[in-house]
Amino acid sequence: MRRFLEGPYAGVLALAILVAVLPLALPSLFYLRIAALIGIFALVVVGLNLLIGYAGQVSLGHAGFFGVGAYAVAIGPTYLGLPAWLALIAGAAIAGLIAFLVGRPILRLRGHYLAVATLGMGLLFAMVFANESAWTGGPDGMPVPHLDLFGFRMSGARTWYWISGVSLVIGAWVAANVIASPTGRALRAIHDSETAAQVLGIDVARYKLIAFVLSAVYAAVAGAYLAMFDGLVTPETAGFLRSIEFVTMAVLGGLGSTFGGIVGAALLVLLPQVLTVFQDYEHIALGLIMIVVMIFLPAGIVPSLAGLLRWRRS
C-alpha cells in the first residue's frame, strides 16, 4: 500500500478523490460547466504532456486531432447514421491512424522544424473543416447530436462533468502507466538527448511515434466530448489558436507533470472568467500573467512550486 501511494499512481488516486468531491463545493451549473471544460482540456494536455513533456517533441497542431474527434461525432451520426458513441470511437481511431501515418515523416524533424510541420498539419485540418461546407457546415459550424448511452441522454453540465472527470482520471492513469513503463524511460532518454538515446540502442522513431499517436487519441476524445457538450462544432475547434492554447496550458502548468497539465488547463479556462472584472484590460492582464508565471516559475507552476517546497524543506 505504501509503495502504491508513493508510486506514480498516488497522483491518480488524489485526482480521483478530487473529481469525486469537487461537485459538493460547486454552487451552480455554471461552475459545473467550468469544471467540465477544465476536465476536457486537461485530458488533451495530459496526452500532449506525453509528447512534449516526456518525449520533448513540441507540436503546434494538436487542435487538428481535437477537431477530428469533434467533427467525427458531428458528421458520423448526422450523415453516416452512426450512433454517437461509435462515432466517438471512430474519431479517436481516425485521429490515431492519421497520427500514425504522418508521424513517421513528421517526427524526423527536430525542434522548431517539427513545430512548423505540425502547425502546417493542424492548419490543413482547420482549412478542410472550414471549406467543405457540404459535410462540415462551413465556418459557422454544424450541430452535434446528443450522446445516448444505455437509453440515457448525456446532456447538461452535471452529466458532462462526470464524463470528463472520470475520463480524465482514466487518462491520467493510462499516462502514469506509460510513464512508469519501459516506454516512459525511453521517452525521457529521448527528451534528454535523441542522439544519446539512439546510441544506447533505443528505437527513437518508434517511441516518439507511440507518444504522438497516444497524444492524438487523447486530443480526439476530448474534442468529441467538447463538441457533444456544446452541441455545436465550428472550425475554430481545430484552429491554430487552440493548438497554441494547448501548448500554453501544458507549459504554464508544468511539462513532465500530469498534475501540472491539469493546473495549466484550469488556469486558462478560469482566467477569462475571472479577468472579466478587468473589462477592456482583460487581454493585457492575461498576457502579463503568462509572462510573470513563466519568469518566476520557468519549469511551470506545479514542478517549480514542488521544487521550491523540496528546497525549503532540506
Binding site: H112, V116, L123, T195, I244, M290, M294, A299
Partner: protein, 290 residues
Amino acid sequence: MAEFLQFAFSGLTVGAIYALVALGFTLIYNASGVINFAQGEFVMLGGMVTVFTHAAGVPLPLAALIALVVAIIVGLALYRLAIEPARGASPVTLIIITIGASILLRGGASLTFDKSFHSLPPFAGSKPLMIGGAALLPQSLIVLAGAGAIVIALWYFLTRTLSGKAILATAANRLAARLVGINTNAVVGLSFGVSAAIGALGGILMTPITLTSYDSGTLLALKGFAAAMLGSMGNPLGAVVGGLTVGLLEAFSAGYISSSYKDAVAFLVILGVLFLMPQGLFGRGGMERV
C-alpha cells in the same frame, strides 16, 4: 502571360512582407535562440503608430520615424523585462513568454488606438503601372525595394560593423563570445531592437496596400514563422527566399488552383520541403552535442 505576371506581382508583394517578418524571427533566433512570436506585433505597431500620429497631424515621414522609435523601445523593453529575466529557461518556456507578450501588446494596442482597420496614403500615388498587361502598384515596388534595402543594410550591419559581428559571434557560440569580451546580454538586446525596427518598417511600408488593425500581427507572425523555417531558421537569406516562396505559392495557387485552398497549398509545399530537407532550404546538417 499577362495573368502569370499578375500572379507573380501579387506573390512578390505579399512575399516581400512575409520576408520582412521572417527576417525579424531569424535575427532574434540567431542571437538568442528565442522564437519570438510577438514579431507580428512589431509590424502592427509600425503600421498603427504611423496611422495615428499621421492622423494627429504629424507629417508622414516624421510619423513613420516615431513609429519606428516606438517599436524599437517596445522591442528593447520586451527583451529587458520579459526575456532577460527568464534567462536559462527552456526554449518552449520562452516561446510562451513571447506569446504572452503578443497578447499583451495586442490588448494594449486595442486600448491605445481602436479596433478598426486603417490605411495610409500610398507613398507614390495609387495609379498602377501596366507591365506586360499586368497591373503593378508603385507601392508594391516600394515594398520590394524596401525589403531589398533592409536585407542589404542588415548584411552590411552583420558583417561590416562591430555590433553586427558581435551578434554573429554570439549566435555562433555564446560562451566563447563572452570570453572574448562581448557583452552578450547587450548583443541579444540589440537583436531585439533591430528586429523590432525591421518589423515596424515592414508594417509602415505595407499598410498602404494591406491595411492594418490592432490584431493584424497574429497571422503575419504565423506566415513569417513558416517562411523563416522554410528557409532554415537563422539564415537571413533563407528568410527572404522563404518569404517570397510562400507569397508566390499563395498567389499562384489562388490563381491557378483554388482560392479556398491557397494557404493549404503553401503549407503542403512547406511540409514537402521539410520532409526532403529536414533543416529547411538553406540548412546545414547540424550536429547535436551529447
